[in-house]
């Protein structure tokens, strides 16, 4: 009996049939070699780290069949006053029948041979163990916050166990009461009033005015990023080029842009991902919008609050029951709490691996990370 030949490869044109087979099996039954070739060419053209070069992607091949996959998103990271090339790990997937073998480990190990600075977000423990064994540092879970927009519907649908309220009997009892037929209506009205009072007490953002915007004002975005990044220890670059590549084609469709400003100056911007019914299992049955991205100088919390208020209004206009936000930085987290976002246990961990010549902070709070980073907003 001949044994299968196993190897990890960095994907080139000759591996596209195997890549297409894997993508068809796991994500998209309609994937084709030609479609992937075109997508890789488009990604290469937009590659901010090595313009024109294909984005690094790796396959674990058994004979000619791909059984494991790992790709990357090239990014730039601002840290310590410099900008470093980096790669987000993405699409780390091993066919179920080959998990608990060497596939995942060897895929990441090979990727690390090719990549310098690498970043990842992960919920599950198994990939985090592999990443850490290969030099990543797990900086911890991002803070997660939920803002009820339609309190009655939220009370009707929330699952206390899934929300981690098992150890908080008083909250669990209150939620059970509110979930009785008459409870959701009454509780929703009370909660709506309480949230309104809380948010009003927190202030709307002073002179800052927030609202929807139809398009990116690129010079203003670059100026905003320069001001914000000067106050941040570390963050993936969020300048106009990044924002254009990431969002411009999807504005008004998948994403809504909101901005805050005063006296004609842009002081903050955020990208809202429109709600969808299937998402975070803790919020099942609810239409949850996501604050994918946000930028404002940490020294201007009023801009952050105005931005959040505008995002909440945009989310309501999209028919969302709740708005979810993940954040690492204390400045954004403080704004979320002041706008009456309820913290829920964080699940999405941020991991970073830096070569010796790259200095990245080890403290999660030093980073400005949101759900958009590493495209983690695709799953929420």
């Amino acid at each position: 009996v001949s044994r299968a030949r196993s190897r990890v490869v960095r994907v080139g044109d000759e591996h596209l049939p195997a890549l297409a087979g894997f993508v068809r099996a796991v994500w998209d039954p309609a994937a084709s070699v030609e479609g992937l070739r075109a997508a890789r060419a488009a990604d290469a053209a937009a590659n901010p780290v090595a313009p024109g070069e294909p984005v690094p992607t790796f396959l674990f091949l058994r004979d000619d069949q791909a059984i494991g996959h790992l790709t990357t998103i090239p990014a730039r990271v601002a840290a310590g006053g410099r900008v470093w090339p980096a790669y987000w790990l993405k699409g780390f997937w091993v066919l179920p029948e080959h998990r608990n073998g060497p596939v995942g480990f060897l895929l990441v190990k090979e990727a690390m041979r090719h990549l310098g600075c690498a970043l990842a977000t992960a919920v599950e423990e198994a990939p985090r163990r592999v990443f850490c064994a290969l030099g990543f540092r797990d900086l911890g879970a991002l803070g997660e916050y939920v803002r009820p927009l339609e309190p009655r519907r939220m009370l009707e649908h929330l699952d206390p166990e899934a929300l981690g309220l098992a150890a908080r009997p008083a909250l669990r009892r209150a939620l059970a009461l509110a979930q009785r037929p008459w409870g959701a209506a009454a509780g929703g009205a009370v909660l709506r009033a309480a949230l309104g009072l809380w948010a009003a007490a927190a202030g709307r953002g002073g002179r800052q005015r927030g609202g929807p915007a139809a398009a990116l004002d690129e010079p203003a975005c670059d100026a905003l990023w320069r001001r914000a990044s000067a106050e941040l220890a570390a963050s993936p670059v969020r300048d106009a080029a990044y924002l254009r590549t990431r969002y411009a084609a999807q504005l008004g469709d998948r994403f809504e842009l909101v901005t805050a400003g005063t006296d004609g100056e842009l002081s903050g911007l955020a990208l809202l991902r429109r709600p969808r019914a299937q998402g975070d299992p803790r919020l099942r049955g609810l239409r949850v919008a996501l604050l994918s991205d946000a930028v404002f100088p940490p020294s201007r919390p009023a801009a952050g609050r105005a931005l959040l208020r505008a995002a909440e209004e945009a989310a309501r206009a999209c028919g969302a029951d709740a708005l979810l936000c993940s954040a690492s930085h204390p400045a954004l987290r403080a704004c979320l709490l002041r706008r009456a976002y309820a913290p829920v246990p964080g699940r999405l961990h941020f991991l970073a691996r830096a070569p010796e010549d790259v200095e990245l902070p080890d403290d999660l709070a030093a980073w400005w990370i949101t759900r958009a980073d590493g495209n983690a907003d695709e799953v929420f």
Partner: protein, 75 residues
């Protein structure tokens, strides 16, 4: 060292819990990283060099014994 004992050491089991049929399905710690720890331990204890194909073939303790025998290792 018996292969069962080695597997037990790597995954924090008692040797009596490990049989020829013991596989990743039955051992929570036997994930991708656990598998690589097992491969490293096998190479050190038995003085063999395992290829990626060998590592892929270790799907349970019986397969581990077969590969060790093919590599001329004894226990």
């Amino acid at each position: 060292m018996q292969p069962e004992e080695l597997v037990a050491n790597v995954f924090g089991l008692s040797p009596g819990e490990v049989t020829d049929a013991t596989s990743p399905d039955a051992v929570e710690e036997w994930d991708s990283l656990g598998h690589m720890n097992l491969v490293v331990e096998i190479e050190q204890v038995y003085g063999v060099a395992l290829s990626t194909d060998d590592a892929m073939e270790i799907t349970d303790v019986a397969a581990l014994k077969r590969i060790l025998a093919e590599r001329g290792a004894s226990w």
